[in-house]
């Protein structure tokens, strides 16, 4: 045994991991670090002389339009957090504190908004809640009043908070569920009850979850391009960046200044979330403990709860219902409901828009594939090898979360426009493959977390057993690690696929011709004209079905993977 160890030099065993780590690092360097650094560099560069300067930022804040956009973005993001909290708090409280038969409905339906990008429902929301929408027509006819729900920024806030509230709901519910019952009982034993108990014990303990969810909502809304664009609200940061780059050109510095601001706020929100969480791992449930005590509802309380929950859900599901109506309606204008119903829009969507659907399946599929390959490589290098600086691979890959799609798109345009494709001489930035890479980089954090979780659950002793029986590192990874990770890998693939399929902000920058455009972009094109709304809505429904199915299967797979992992843990005795 010792002679074998002596014969094999230490170098060969550590060479492979470095090769893998190096390849991953090159990819991330080329497609994440350089584009983002380039964006930041250009923002601080004098467009004429190329010297380092703050003049672009001065120009930005000197412009009324940009100042307006900046404050609008801040306002919309903050108000969206407020309204999303207003929706999420009662739902989280109800499901975690009471034995309420509607809990399952809430928890399931709460995910529904997530499987549809907010911009898809935006047009439908206008038809339901706009100044001439169903609700206001009814109000005007019966009460002579209208509600400016969809006017300007209100519309963006309304659509975004309905879309993103599940982030708060999920995080807050998880926090609440992780509070040990004894935390509450200890307070009761000392004389505390009711609201005081909630304010002093339960809410502070759930705070980290709330902050995590709220800061995520803030960033998502702050960065979002599609929704304001479709609602025709252009005085916000992301639309301004897009409009500057697409109309003035990629040399205009304003797009880059806006990108810097978007990155800054992303990092700021993550920092807030980190501060909120630091040293506060409040998940206090222990073996034998249980979550907070749930109380039975009296019949009238249950009825009241159902009323609250159903009215919240009715609003939350409005975009989906509206989209469905729109996709089947003939003409829907100045009326509460469409005039008639038809399948023609689906026919149009499936014929003239078939290319979009094909492109989407191809792009999102390839992006998902790249993500799980990179994710597995990074997870393995980080957790199972001694590569120096391996943690940085993980940090860099996760940093993609802080890079808004608009920023990545602008960075790609700037960096890869001057790079020619070998052979054709076409700029790399206009090649459809660059869209795939952009999607892969944007969704890598999701896949990476899945891969890491899957690998974490595999006891190293299972690998050691394989090596002990004579299998090489590579054979062990192929025959033991990958099969055991399979559930997590597929879940990671599907998550990347589903979210990439409806991504708009980076792709809208990178689509060079309609022939190369994915579904989200096609939808955006359709929704521009009144005649295109019907087929656009049908396309939206198709997108929802694709993403919905993918999400459903990913949940199934995650469940299965979890089950098999617990088996491994029980039998293998690993963790």
């Amino acid at each position: 045994m010792s002679s074998a160890a002596l014969r094999r030099p230490a170098l060969t065993s550590s060479f492979g991991p470095y090769l893998v780590a190096g390849a991953v690092f090159l990819f991330l360097g080329a497609f994440l670090i350089i584009p983002v650094l380039k964006v930041i560099q250009v923002a601080f560069q004098d467009p004429a002389t190329g010297s380092l300067t703050l003049v672009n930022f001065q120009d930005f804040f000197a412009s009324t339009l940009f100042r307006q956009s900046f404050f609008n973005s801040l306002y919309v993001a903050s108000m969206s957090v407020v309204f999303a909290s207003a929706v999420a708090l009662p739902l989280a409280y109800l499901t975690t504190r009471f034995n309420f038969s509607g809990s399952v409905v809430i928890q399931t339906l709460a995910f529904v908004p997530l499987i549809m990008p907010p911009f898809i429902g935006a047009v439908a929301m206008q038809l339901l809640f706009g100044s001439n929408g169903s609700l206001n027509l009814l109000l005007r006819n019966h009460f002579g009043v209208t509600l400016p729900i969809m006017e300007g920024l209100n519309g963006v806030i309304f659509v975004q908070s309905l879309h993103y509230f599940p982030f708060i709901l999920i995080n807050l519910s998880a926090s609440l569920r992780n509070i040990d019952r004894s935390m509450e009982e200890a307070a009761q034993m000392l004389g505390s009850s009711g609201l005081r108990l909630f304010r002093r014990i339960v809410f502070p303990l759930a705070m980290p979850g709330y902050i995590a969810g709220a800061s995520l909502v803030f960033v998502k809304v702050f960065d979002d391009l599609g929704t304001p664009l479709l609602l025709n609200v252009n005085t916000m940061l992301a639309p301004q960046a897009y409009l500057r780059i697409s109309s003035v050109g990629i040399s205009d510095p304003m797009g880059y200044v806006i990108s810097c601001i978007l990155i800054l706020f992303s990092i700021f929100a993550m920092w807030v979330s980190f501060l909120g969480m630091r040293g506060k791992d409040y998940s206090t449930t222990q073996k034998g403990g249980g979550g907070l005590a749930k109380r039975d509802l009296r019949p009238y309380e249950a009825a009241l709860c159902y009323l609250v929950v159903l009215s919240i859900l009715a609003i939350v599901l409005a975009p989906h219902l509206g989209l469905l109506l729109l996709s089947f309606g003939t003409i829907w204008s100045f009326s509460v409901l469409p005039d008639g119903y038809t399948l023609a829009h689906y026919e149009t969507a499936l014929t003239s828009a078939w290319g979009f659907i094909q492109n989407t399946l191809l792009y999102a599929g390839l992006a998902g594939l790249i993500d799980i390959i990179l994710g597995t490589a990074i997870a393995y290098v980080v957790m199972r090898t001694g590569v120096i600086g391996r943690k940085w691979l993980d940090y860099i890959a996760m940093a993609a979360l802080a890079v808004p799609g608009v920023v990545l798109g602008i960075g790609y345009l700037r960096v890869f426009y001057s790079v020619e494709m070998p052979g054709s001489g076409q700029p790399l930035a206009t090649w459809w493959g660059i869209i795939v890479i952009a999607l892969a980089v944007r969704r890598l954090p999701y896949a990476l977390r899945s891969c890491t979780a899957a690998l974490q659950q595999i006891s190293p002793s299972l690998e050691e057993a394989s090596e002990n029986l004579g299998a090489s590192k590579f054979a062990t990874v192929r025959r033991i690690v990958i099969p055991l990770m399979a559930g997590g890998l597929v879940a990671g693939f599907v998550t990347s696929f589903a979210t990439a399929a409806v991504e708009l902000s980076a792709t809208i920058m990178l689509v060079a011709s309609e022939r190369d455009a994915p579904l989200a972009y096609g939808l955006y094109l359709f929704m521009q004209s009144a005649a295109g709304r019907g087929p656009g809505a049908a396309l939206g429904i198709i997108a929802v079905i694709i993403v919905g199915l993918a999400t459903y299967f990913s949940h199934r797979l995650i469940d299965n993977a979890r089950r098999s992992r617990t088996d491994v843990a029980n039998n293998g005795g690993g963790h």
Partner: protein, 376 residues
């Protein structure tokens, strides 16, 4: 989960004297539980518990997991489903009363310190709820922390404390409000072995100093025996026996109690009248005189230390054969086939004394005066 490896330093020991701020305020009260039953859905967890605990007593609920001991403790504190029957604290029935209106102090198994509050704020919590003026509150918090030897940790957060320290803080938090009763739910189970021995002495010291009526829930008979005045042995939601630890050990009411408190040989059989007096005859055929047994089916409890090997002239011993041996450190426990029964026999171990081989023929003498007869 808890870091319990930190050895207890001298400064974290329980104070020798009761601080002024806590002096002479706690009046010990009695607890009277009558016909208490409780169900979780269809499962009946407590079945007609009758129990009387004297003021100032250190009392233990002892039983295996699932015996209902923790449920009973929680019922006294007001947690869990509302039971049937009465729980009288100082003569007042508290069944149905909300936990926060009982003034019953409980120390949770996992300590349940709030991670978002410092040690001082944790301890002050109950005083805040009672609207105790700030100045007095500070004095009492300090006194309570002093009492458990944690004064210098007042500004730390629970996550910065070891398991033993967390427990002391949990104790301080509970006693600072001067509860009428102190309930301890398996307080030592999350500590490592050395700390457990030290902590149970500290608990006893503290209880004596405060004079507070205390109930201690445990599944560990050694813990209950070493520090409690009286114990109630529980199984299947029923109190099997109540008494002083040595009384219960010496006179187990049934075979469950006999087996749960220490090791016992429990022989099935019956009592017959013979010329020399009553005789117990086991199912395997072993015969032993028994003092005052009345005829009929019975069980005989024999502790392993009541049986001895007789070496050499084996005139008065019973013949047997060694089946197996376990080395326990201070003694060796043999399983010996004697008269159709397999009996556990303890023999003190001396250095270099070796042990009896398997299959070796031996003679044993049973000290039948130590045996306890249980009639069915």
């Amino acid at each position: 989960m808890n870091q319990t490896s930190t050895p207890i330093a001298a400064e974290t020991a329980v104070a020798e004297t009761l601080p002024d701020a806590l002096q002479n305020r706690l009046q010990p009260i009695g607890i009277d539980i009558r016909d208490l039953s409780l169900s979780f859905g269809a499962t009946q967890v407590l079945k007609g518990i009758d129990l009387k605990i004297e003021p100032g007593e250190f009392f233990a609920f002892l039983g295996p997991s699932g015996s209902g001991k923790s449920t009973l403790l929680r019922a006294i504190a007001g947690f869990g489903p509302t039971p049937k029957g009465t729980i009288a604290l100082d003569g007042q029935d508290v069944v149905g009363l909300a936990p926060w209106k009982r003034n019953v102090g409980m120390v949770f198994q996992n300590y349940a310190l709030w991670p978002h509050m410092s040690v001082a704020r944790n301890v002050a919590y109950g005083l805040d709820e009672r609207r105790v003026p700030k100045r007095e509150s500070v004095a009492r918090v300090n006194a309570a922390l002093e009492l458990v030897g944690m004064r210098q940790y007042a500004d730390r957060y629970p996550s910065q404390l070891s398991g033993g320290q967390q427990q002391r803080v949990a104790l301080a938090r509970t006693i600072v409000v001067e509860p009428r009763v102190l309930l301890l739910d398996e307080p030592l189970s999350n500590l490592d072995a050395n700390l457990r021995v030290q902590m149970r002495q500290d608990l006893l010291k503290l209880q004596r100093r405060l004079g507070i009526t205390t109930i201690f829930v445990t599944h560990d008979q050694e813990e209950a025996n070493t520090i409690c005045d009286r114990i109630a042995v529980m199984a299947d939601g029923v109190v099997q026996q109540i008494g002083k630890p040595d009384d219960v050990y010496d006179n187990p009411a049934n075979s469950f109690v006999a087996n749960f408190l220490g090791t016992a040989n429990v022989l099935e059989g019956h009592v017959e009248k013979a010329a020399s007096g009553p005789v117990f005859r086991s199912a395997g055929g072993l015969e032993l005189p028994c003092g005052d047994g009345k005829a009929g089916a019975a069980k005989l409890v024999l502790r392993p230390q009541s049986i001895a090997f007789v070496d050499g002239g084996a005139a008065d011993g019973l013949q047997g054969r060694v089946r197996s041996a376990e080395f326990l450190g201070g003694m060796i426990r043999y399983l010996v086939d004697v008269g159709g029964e397999a009996l556990l026999v303890d023999e003190l171990h001396a250095r270099g004394s070796g042990r009896r081989r398997e299959g070796e023929a031996v003679h044993v003498r049973i000290n039948h005066e130590q045996a306890v007869l249980i009639h069915r």
